[in-house]
């Protein structure tokens, strides 16, 4: 079982390396709205979901791919934690 803190670290690291850095953004906070300034675009959302499914061994349904669930590192962590507890 992955520790909660580790979940967040891995999500943050992925978002930073995969999306933020190439767009000239080196640091993101856990509350930053990732969808707001184009950090993640429409294709990026699905790369992110694929990463979460593979890394945390969870299944995220299309209906769960929503702004509320994926808007920030904090929100993504909540989604993953809920999923791994099931």
């Amino acid at each position: 079982m992955i520790e909660a803190a580790e979940v967040k670290d891995r999500i943050r690291e992925y978002v930073r390396e995969e999306f933020a850095k190439s767009k000239g953004i080196n640091e993101i906070t856990d509350q930053e709205v990732l969808t707001k300034n184009g950090i993640i675009d429409s294709m990026g959302i699905f790369r992110l979901v694929a990463f979460l499914e593979e890394t945390f061994n969870v299944r995220i349904g299309d209906e769960e791919i929503t702004h509320d669930n994926l808007e920030s590192v904090d929100a993504i962590e909540r989604l993953v934690i809920t999923k791994t507890k099931k």
Binding site: S22, M43, H67
Partner: protein, 539 residues
Amino acid sequence: MAYLLQQLLSKSARAYPEKMAVWARGMSIAYRELEEQSNQLAHLLRKRGVKKGDRVGLFFPKCVQSVVSMLGVLKAGGVYVPLDPQAPADRVGYIIENCGIRVLITNHEKRQALSSETSSALECCILIDESGNGDAANSWSALSEFPADHAPQVSLIETDLAYILYTSGSTGRPKGVMLSHQNALTFVEWCAEEFKVNCNDQLSNHAPLHFDLSVFDIYNTLEAGATVYLITEELALFPTSLANFIESKGITIWYSVPSALMLLLLHAHLTPEKLKSVRTILFAGEVFPMKYLRQLADISQNSELYNLYGPTETNVCTYYKIERERLSTLEKLPIGIACANTEAFAVTPDGRLAAQGEPGELYVRGPSVTYGYWADSDKTRTMVVPNQFQPHFEEKMYRTGDIVMLSDDGNYYFQGRRDSMIKSRGYRIELGEIESALLSHPGVREAAVLAVPDEVMGNRIRAVVAAHVPDSITALELQQYCASRVPKYMIPELIDLCEELPKTSTGKIDRVKLAQSARGPLQIPGRATTARPQPFLQQ
């Protein structure tokens, strides 16, 4: 008869004062309110020195105030310039300087994002959110001090400019397409007639406001006394939420790029139920792959589907109404026939009108055609040219750069481009603009940017770069450098570094060879896709 865009609003405000005109982010505005607020804003703008023909920038994410601002600027006699709220400061600064914007309507956050150089060039920023720093005179709350029942007196005619839309430019900088009231109204009036937009319609606005698709959404709504729902960038990212939005708002007319519809098809489990209110689906901006169009046609049995075609310079110039009975056999989607009051024809390289079945460059003439590019008479002269087929008086036509062919079914078909402009998710991109951005990096010696065709996105962008000093720069550094110069959708997804770019015998960059090595399978974005695109120049 309306000859100015703002007259569309005034007419509907008289007919439907209490009806909702615009909805965005949970806020809405009724026609009377929209008429009054835009009058007030126009007075405020005049007081801040905006004169007839002055350019006023709009720089904030889509919201109800976006539409108030567009109309307010027009009523002040100005020309509005919608700026991409996600564009880097360098590009925004360039546009502000290029078209001489002195007054900017923006919000707190976006004002902070401007470079200090840009900020100091501006005479005034009007904030749509409360200022909080004591500058109440230039915030939205100041509007109430101005007359609401009438707009300022400005003498305007239909050939005056209404707005400027900036698109990618091949020389490394965006270019401003100038559009007049008449240019826009020619298109709006055709749409009103063809799509029978009425006061019960609920239109969606998916495209960003700096993108010409939004002209239909906003002005055909106002023309008909209908309601437009502005879809924010955040909502557009989530197909399931977007499908629910279409259903819950009872959208009747949808207009977007095909890739937005494809994301709905692929990820939102679209059912006929979700689209039951939608009577018309319009798409434009890129080629709709037949496979997905057939799926869409199956799900949206109650909707009429239209493929609209036309560069920003002409609004829309041709259209094709999808004939469902032909869909199973049609191999390629036509761009169709010319819209009303527009003539479109193909011209061969030797300057003749192309015969049926003969490819030629598409030229367009009519009142929807732009005057040209702001402060760029050279570019204007090459693209908006005298009509050689009309020897008796002076008339202009626009050369689209698109190669088309008239088929025996009476429709035009798109064949390709004359230059290196490409489309990605409907965005028009000059590969030369990205190459210029890369080459402006001090460490870069050579750069070539390639478009790799992709079923869903249209094209994906890759670059190959040779540095002055090998290993002195990384791909990530170059992506970050691009991020400060070009919009996010123009940043190459993958940058390969090599010692030298392949050359042809004449010493030019061998684009054919590069394109061949790039042909490897690029993953179509989807649930199963985690793999990074493979580098296409193996070191």
